[in-house]
């Protein structure tokens, strides 16, 4: 009897359209200036957010650091960038820039034959996974109620990210921070598997015969992959930062930026790992807890989440950790064991547990989108006054400082949230069924039933939180 997963991919049969076939698009992607300009502006905005958080008004809804980071940026990230462009944000993220510039001794391209600045150590083998990122995200989530509302705390977090990223560039080679530490990059990587875009090689055989491997080692045209990935071996977006360096360094014009079917990576058999599976649980569980704390009517829960260091907060932390690392994975494990019982397979329970966890990726993304829709539509109107008065100092730069808070589309919100969750549930169901079919078992569809029930239960939970 067979079951998921086996080493066969349907990936090659799926349609792709290579954007680099368009000369203008390729020229814009290869040229460093467009990317540099966006990143430089993003870095200015990032530094301004830190300054605003530290020196601006402590009122979150009137401070650039809260409104532009947690409302404007977050909306762009989770509603647009991740679903449509996968690692698109990482392409222009300013956080690793100072460290990378120091490391490279240059802002634009390679600076001749000078060796990289810094210790250049390799990242420890035992930590070459996303467990640290999982922990970092969970840690941030525990303080989220304060981080998302208090400008000073946001500023400290942003400054800490910048310092850690720069420091890690001085100690380790390449972008160790992005690849192994960044709490945001971790979940972008997970959900970028659903994106309809990818960086891949056109022909792996070309890479196999190319001895220099300049995409990894670097050349005078560009740096070796900052993420430490070999493009010829890429099978999913998770560990590709879409930095475009390989597009610049490949002398054989073998790199493609493909438009592809959404979620293509979820059917990818290679590279399924327990740390990624737990990332899916952490994200799903965090979305649930955030929704309960920020959108729910439970005052005591809010008080506990805000009361950093208090006994109620410690209980909140305990409940969060048990829910995210215990209850959710535990229930899912039961579901995956039930799957195995319905259609017996030679694969270990752990392997099945990990494989099916990828069905939670589209559901988790849908949950985050549905959650974000509520507070983005509700709070987006804060952007206008803060644009004119980003520090809350009484400025009126663009004449919009007096714009009143106006929630948008509140009547449509439950419909949109339901729609998004239903799409996420359907997508999760399709993914679960595909994973079940990987083993070519005649009754594979039965295997997906417990997983689908789990996803249905989670969806109902979210619907209850969102629309009651």
């Amino acid at each position: 009897m067979e079951g998921p997963p086996v080493t066969r991919s349907t990936d090659s049969r799926q349609a792709r359209y290579d954007l680099t076939r368009i000369p203008v698009a390729k020229a814009l992607l290869v040229n460093r200036w467009p990317q540099f300009l966006i990143r430089a502006l993003a870095l200015s905005g990032f530094l301004f957010a830190i300054v605003a958080g530290l020196g601006g008004t402590p009122v979150g809804s009137r401070n650039f650091s809260i409104v532009f980071v947690w409302i404007a940026w977050w909306a762009l990230l989770i509603l647009v960038a991740v679903p449509l462009a996968g690692r698109g944000w990482c392409t222009v993220c300013p956080i690793p820039m100072p460290g990378e510039w120091l490391q490279n001794r240059a802002l634009l391209g390679p600076s001749g034959k000078k060796p990289p600045f810094g210790l250049g150590r390799k990242w420890p083998k035992g930590l070459r996974n996303i467990w640290v990122q999982n922990g970092a995200f969970a840690l941030m989530a525990l303080f989220s109620a304060v981080v998302l509302t208090q400008p000073v705390v946001t500023a400290v977090i942003l400054a800490a990210l910048l310092l850690v990223a720069t420091g890690s560039s001085m100690i380790f080679e390449r972008r160790a921070f992005c690849r192994y530490l960044c709490p945001v990059g971790g979940f972008i990587g997970l959900y970028s598997q659903t994106a309809p875009i990818e960086v891949r090689v056109r022909d792996t055989a070309v890479c196999a015969t190319h001895t220099t491997k300049s995409c990894y080692t670097g050349s005078e045209d560009g740096f070796g992959c900052p993420w430490g990935a070999f493009p010829g071996g890429l099978v999913k977006n998770t560990y590709c930062g879409a930095c475009l360096e390989c597009l610049r360094t490949c002398p054989l014009d073998n790199i493609a930026i493909n438009i592809r079917p959404a979620g293509a990576d979820l059917s990818q058999l290679r590279g399924r790992k327990l740390d990624e599976a737990f990332k899916a649980f952490i994200m799903l569980g965090s979305a649930f807890v955030y929704s309960a704390v920020m959108l729910g009517p439970w005052g005591q829960l809010k008080t506990a989440a805000y009361g950093i260091g208090s006994l109620p907060w410690l209980l909140y932390v305990l409940a969060f950790l048990v829910f995210v690392f215990g209850l959710l994975p535990g229930l899912f494990y039961v579901a995956s064991r039930a799957s195995r019982t319905l259609a017996p397979t030679r694969h270990t329970p752990r392997r099945i547990f990990v494989a099916y966890a990828y069905a939670l990726v589209p559901l988790g993304l849908a949950a985050w989108i549905a959650f974000s829709l509520s507070f983005v539509f509700t709070n987006a109107s804060y952007i206008l006054p803060v644009l004119s008065d980003p520090l809350g100092w009484g400025w009126n730069l663009f004449g919009t400082a007096g714009y009143d808070w106006t929630p948008f589309f509140t009547q449509m919100l439950p419909v949109l949230q339901t729609l998004v969750l239903v799409v996420g549930l359907a997508w999760a169901g399709i993914t679960a069924r595909r994973i079940a079919q990987e083993g070519n078992h005649p009754a594979a569809w039965r295997q997906a039933i417990p997983i689908n029930l789990f996803c249905l239960m989670v969806t109902i939970g979210f619907l209850w939180l969102f629309i009651g």
Binding site: F36, L37, L41, L43, F48, V51, S61, L107, L108
Partner: protein, 335 residues
């Protein structure tokens, strides 16, 4: 090729320096350099007014920039005729105050911002010479101090009323209260029970029942308050007292226990007594106007009641006392 790259690199560096330094120059240039004192309002549990102490000089404008860091607050200075201003989260309200007398003034929150709203007080110490040398200032000693009343002592009397006294009934009774037993001083210093006893001792009341006599007391107390005083007292009561004492004066306001009990033992280290019940005959009939005035001025009494002596003027406090008596002595029974 190399030269081209070097130029591009330097161009990138210059652009970055321009962007980042331009940003900071813009921020520094836009900093508010006005001399106004920025006062932040936050709920008392998180700190109250920040700063909580201000200083000013007589006849020198004290410019304030008020903002709230959490919820809607209000700002007013006690015993001053200036209207309260709203303190809105994320917005600045500019205010200029001019004091013509030295002293310590209290500013306070005028919006119900939270459970401990009434603890949101700050002080302004005004120094210098009074512009009007003839001014007596606010040095008049409260009556309860002049009379040396112990406002914490029990003032219960053993009285059982058949029904709440009615001023309207008292007015209709064919009896003229002798002026020797009811003067303004009597109203302020005597308890209703003492006045009732004085009436009982009068031979002219021999035909009146005890209940009718209480109606007479109610009428006597009503006759001491003017309509304007009652209106003012009612406005102040509704704004500041009703939340705890209740709009019917029965001590069952929305902010009374158990709401207070949930938060205060932790905040203040003691369990609180419930707010006073102004319809409780045993307590009210043994209290004088001066005693009620003292309680309002000083606060406390183990109930968590704030002091109002620096907030209200003497006339306002008297108006409050006049209004509070109407709970015990309504115009008509059952009103």
């Amino acid at each position: 090729m190399v030269i081209h790259r070097l130029r591009a690199e330097w161009a990138a560096r210059l652009l970055l320096i321009f962007l980042v330094s331009g940003l900071f120059v813009a921020i520094m240039a836009g900093r508010n350099t006005a001399q106004a004192v920025e006062v932040h309002a936050v709920m008392p549990e998180s700190g109250g007014w920040m700063p909580g102490n201000l200083s000013a000089e007589v006849n020198v404008p004290l410019d304030l920039r008020l903002t709230s860091d959490d919820v809607m607050h209000g700002f007013a200075v006690g015993q001053q005729p200036w209207p309260a201003v709203a303190v809105v989260p994320g917005q600045f309200t500019d205010l200029s105050l001019i004091f013509d007398e030295p002293g310590i003034y209290t500013y306070y929150c005028t919006r119900w911002c939270g459970l401990n709203h009434w603890r949101m007080r700050g002080t302004i110490e005004v120094t210098g010479k009074a512009s009007d040398q003839s001014s007596t200032g606010s040095t008049r000693q409260p009556l309860y101090l002049t009379l040396d009343l112990d406002i914490d002592a029990s003032h219960e009397v053993d009285v059982q009323l058949e029904r709440p006294p009615s001023a309207a009934h008292g007015e209709k009774l064919d009896f003229t209260i002798p002026s020797r037993i009811l003067t303004r001083e009597h109203y302020l210093e005597q308890t209703p029970f003492e006045f009732w006893m004085a009436l009982r001792a009068d031979p002219g009341t021999a035909d009146l029942s005890d209940t009718e006599l209480w109606d007479l007391v109610a009428f006597a107390w009503h006759s001491q308050a003017t309509p304007d005083s009652l209106l003012l007292g009612q406005r102040l009561y509704d704004q500041n007292c009703a939340a705890c004492h209740g709009d019917k004066g029965n001590g069952e306001g929305v902010m009374a226990r158990p709401n207070l009990a949930q938060s205060d033992p932790d905040s203040f280290g003691r369990a609180l007594l419930p707010p006073g019940d102004f319809t409780d005959a045993q307590k009210m009939l043994g209290a004088s106007s001066a005693l009620l005035q003292g309680k309002i001025v000083r606060g406390g009494m183990g109930t968590g009641m704030p002091y109002w002596g620096t907030i209200f003027t003497a006339d306002e406090i008297q108006a409050l006392v006049d209004y509070i008596w109407t709970f015990m002595f309504p115009l008509t029974a059952g009103e």
